[in-house]
């Protein structure tokens, strides 16, 4: 059906190599089947253990079709229909004296079709009352206890009438007459094998019919299951229905169902064909012609016709079906190399062997008449059950694997989606900020900015108003800082410091103060993805403050800015910016405030507050040789401005 077990490596081999491989596989398969055939024949040749030979009665006087003669059992009667004048076997057995206390029985292991046993003129057994015994395809044994009153010491007469109603010739196997306790085990064994076991298998068949039926209902696109379910149902009907001995309202239906073996084999054949990938064709109905003919005969003809036709239609049909199935399963096995095909192929081989043996038995070419084809059908049932379970387990495994893959894929996709969503969000946020910045820049450009520039220009023309100019210039510087800090720098503080350096140099140039810029580590500062514009403003303003202090209060000649990345004790990298001047320094109180100028003190307080808000550490030191401001950045900048205060 939907199996794709074809060997992928075989597909890629050159044609010659592939043919060689195929041949070797075919040989392996045929060898296995030959072994199975040999095993079957060996098993069939084993005769079932019988009771002690001393109780065996084989020599009889036979009256058949008016002819009286001596025969030795087992005996095949050439008659096909002898209901009115059945062959009569008359024999003799001896009960030793002193065994009267023991119950004696007559044991008939095998006969076709029915027997009536008489001991000393008293009928003790009529097998026709046992429905199971009336089926010639079953090897039903019979046993009957001889009433003690009938038996007497010494020679006793036993007479058997063999009823034959076809479709095959009559047969009577050797019989045993002896103590019941010695005969019974052999009888029980045969009952177990030929009566109980088929019932068990038929029950199994009924269960399979239900399972396959459900399977077909749930998976309508796989008709093979439906066909097999129908075959199983027909098989169950055959097994449990009784041979009608008279005319009843349902006897015709009964006949049709009991003789449905060709339909059953047709269905099983159809299943095998569909299973091996064959598409249903219209000419496929040919398969069912024998079955339909037989059913029509059952409907309109009498039972004798059906029985006669059964031999000519059903038996060959079963054989042909088995042969076709053997070929089809072998091909399927070679092509797909799956367990289900192999099991089916072996089962078909077993059945085919048994069918041939049965056929030989029908034609009296075997010393005995034990039919095993029906029994061997159980091998097919086992194969179907095993194959189904195998497919089911494999499908479950595939589902598990698929589900596992799906879970992994879904998780991966989810993570990707989350990451891309976060990226998208970040990008959208940055874009919004950039748009806002552009708008703000345009607004400021010609408004506030232009006015401040005018103030600078005017203050320079009218001497003595330098204070205004400085203130306006400082305002412009701050304006540029605000706009600059809003730019998306991708968490690289170095980009913000680059602009700051330019502004600081412009500020220091008129004062003749040199700015020494030293990036100690090659990369400068670590990148902080969480860096926000307000962090940048705080840091740059803090540095501005440090430079302004150096300019205004320290009388410095040189300012050194050192930028480096420090590996902390906790192995986390931290950026560090140091601003150092060579001015005269100032005194720092114990509370960290500058003792000197009030302005400078306020500046220091501001610096501390800014550092705290960014989670950075500020270290101030000052002496006569200069002042040093050391800012150690946090490993991770705080999200909120919680430290403000």
């Amino acid at each position: 059906m939907n199996d794709h077990d074809e060997d992928a490596t075989a597909e890629q081999l050159p044609a010659r190599e592939r043919r060689r491989l195929q041949t070797s596989r075919l040989m392996q398969y045929l060898l296995l089947q030959a072994l199975i055939v040999a095993a079957c024949i060996f098993a069939l040749r084993q005769s079932l253990p019988g009771p002690p030979a001393q109780y065996q009665v084989t020599v009889f006087q036979l009256i058949e079709a008016g002819v009286d003669r001596a025969v030795t059992l087992p005996y095949f009667s050439p008659l096909r229909n002898a209901m009115n004048d059945p062959p009569r076997f008359t024999g003799r057995f001896v009960r030793p004296a002193g065994e009267a206390a023991q119950a004696w029985s007559v044991f008939l292991p095998r006969f076709t079709n029915g027997v009536e046993v008489t001991v000393n003129g008293v009928v003790i057994l009529d097998s026709r009352r046992d429905p199971a015994a009336n089926r010639p395809d079953r090897n039903t044994p019979q046993i009957a206890v001889i009433p003690a009153s009938v038996l007497h010491d010494g020679a006793n007469d036993v007479s058997i009438r063999l009823f034959i109603w076809g479709p095959i010739s009559g047969f009577l196997d050797r019989i045993w007459v002896g103590p019941d306790e010695l005969l019974r085990p052999s009888y029980n064994l045969r009952t177990l094998i030929f009566v109980t076991l088929p019932v068990v298998f038929s029950s199994w068949q009924a269960i399979l019919a239900v399972i396959l039926g459900i399977m077909w209902v749930m998976r309508r696109h796989e008709p093979a299951y439906g066909v097999l379910a129908a075959a199983m149902a027909v098989g169950v009907a055959q097994a449990f229905l009784q041979t009608p001995m008279g005319e009843t309202p349902f006897s015709r239906l009964n006949v049709i169902l009991i003789s449905s073996a060709p339909i059953e084999s047709g269905l099983v054949l159809t299943f095998a064909l569909l299973f091996s990938g064959w598409k249903w064709q219209r000419y496929g109905w040919i398969i069912f012609i024998p079955g339909v003919l037989l059913a029509l005969a059952g409907l309109f003809g009498n039972q004798a016709t059906v029985r006669a036709l059964f031999l000519y239609l059903a038996v060959p049909m079963v054989g042909v079906s088995l042969l076709i199935m053997a070929v089809v399963t072998a091909r399927s096995m070679l092509k797909r190399r799956n367990v289900a095909s192999l099991l089916l192929g072996c089962a078909v081989t077993i059945m085919l062997t048994c069918w041939i043996v049965d056929l030989l038995s029908v034609f009296q070419m075997m010393p005995n008449r034990i039919f095993t084809a029906r029994l061997s059908y159980s091998a097919m049932l086992v194969a179907i059950g095993a194959g189904l379970t195998w497919r089911f387990a494999r499908a479950l495994n595939q589902v598990d694997g698929f589900a596992g893959r799906l879970v992994t894929q879904v998780r991966e996709a989810e993570e990707k989606l989350k990451a891309s969503f976060a990226r998208e969000e970040e990008r959208a946020r940055a874009a919004a900020l950039a748009r806002e910045r552009t708008r703000l820049m345009r607004d400021l450009h010609d408004g506030l900015g232009g006015q401040l520039v005018s103030i600078v220009a005017l203050s320079e023309r009218g001497n003595g108003s330098a204070g205004i100019g400085d203130a306006a210039r400082a305002a412009l510087k701050d304006l540029r800082l605000v706009i600059d800090s809003m730019d998306d720098i991708g968490g690289d503080l170095m980009l913000a410091l680059g602009s700051w350096r330019e502004r600081a140099m412009a500020q220091l140039r008129p004062h003749d103060i040199a700015l020494d810029w030293r990036a100690v580590t090659a990369q400068g500062l670590p990148v902080h993805p969480e860096l926000r514009p307000w962090h940048v403003i705080q840091i740059v303003r803090l540095l501005d403050e440090a430079v302004t202090n150096a300019v205004k209060h320290a009388n410095a000649k040189r300012i050194t800015v050192r930028i480096e990345t420090l590996a902390g004790a906790d192995r986390l990298d931290r950026g560090c910016i140091t601003v150092e001047d060579d001015g005269r320094g100032f005194e720092i109180n114990s509370d960290g405030a500058a003792a000197g100028a009030i302005k400078a003190a306020r500046g220091l307080r501001n610096m501390r507050s800014r550092a705290a808000r960014c989670g950075a550490e500020l270290e101030l030191s000052s002496c006569e040789r200069g002042t040093r401001v050391r800012l150690t950045l946090p490993h991770r900048f705080p999200d909120s401005d919680g430290a403000a205060g």
């Binding site: 450009h445 520039v453 320079e460 210039r473 170095m494 350096r501």
Partner: protein, 225 residues
């Protein structure tokens, strides 16, 4: 193009200064005149065109927002008529919005309006010497445009496709605040070649004609034909 720069200058360098705000105009004019430049001042686009009609100046300094037009048009005209004239834009904030739009039409630098007089003179002198000034924020803007992003950041359109990896490295150095000497030593260049690289960068960012702009947009996949 700058072969004349190295010769001893017999006559004063001419500068056309275009600025509509009178105090700023005076201030810049004073700073340049004190440094020995011959300044022709203009307050509007019309006046500026009249100044240019007198002959090619060595330097054009112009504001962008003018009462009767936009400085970008003036820069484009000057660039076409006088290819040897060095053009600089006067900006209040030195922001990329104004500077980049000026660069794409042919300017090779910018001057802050509140720069100290000495700095104003020094910047013009450097420009005449072939040293185009560039700020960290402008460099940052350009390198960001070289990075592939699904949608371009806001601001003026800029084609960075022709920049070489070395030029982009130089821009990164400037954006991070390194001096020319530091950049030169990092990249294994001579310090003197860095300003030339920067001028090349400006030239590569210039969009010469409308047709070329369309062509470059197609090349970059901004326009689908």
């Amino acid at each position: 193009m700058n072969s004349l720069d190295d010769e001893p200058k017999m006559e004063a360098i001419t500068v056309v200064l275009v600025e509509d705000d009178a105090p700023t105009l005076w201030r810049l004019q004073d700073a340049l005149a004190k440094a020995g430049y011959q300044v022709r001042a203009a307050g509007t686009l019309t006046e500026a065109r009249a100044c240019l009609a007198q002959g090619a100046p060595k330097v054009l300094l112009t504001d962008l927002q003018l009462p009767d037009g936009h400085g970008v048009d003036l820069i484009r005209e000057t660039r076409q008529r006088f290819p040897d004239t060095e053009i600089m834009v006067i900006s209040i904030l030195g922001d990329e919005e104004s500077v980049i739009s000026a660069i794409t039409v042919g300017a090779t630098g910018y001057l802050l309006k509140d720069a100290f007089p000495t700095d104003i003179a020094a910047t013009v002198r450097d420009l005449v010497a072939g040293h185009s000034p560039i700020s960290a924020s402008i460099a940052r803007f350009i390198v960001r445009r070289t990075q592939n992003t699904p949608e371009p950041p806001p601001g003026p359109a800029l084609n960075t496709a022709r920049l070489t990896p070395r030029e982009i490295d130089i821009l990164w150095g400037i954006a991070k605040g390194f001096s020319y000497a530091e950049i030169a030593s990092h990249l294994g260049l001579s310090r003197q070649t860095v300003p030339g690289h920067i001028k090349n960068i400006y030239r590569k960012l210039e969009v010469h004609t409308r047709g070329e702009a369309v062509f470059e947009a197609v090349q970059q996949g901004l326009i689908k034909l």
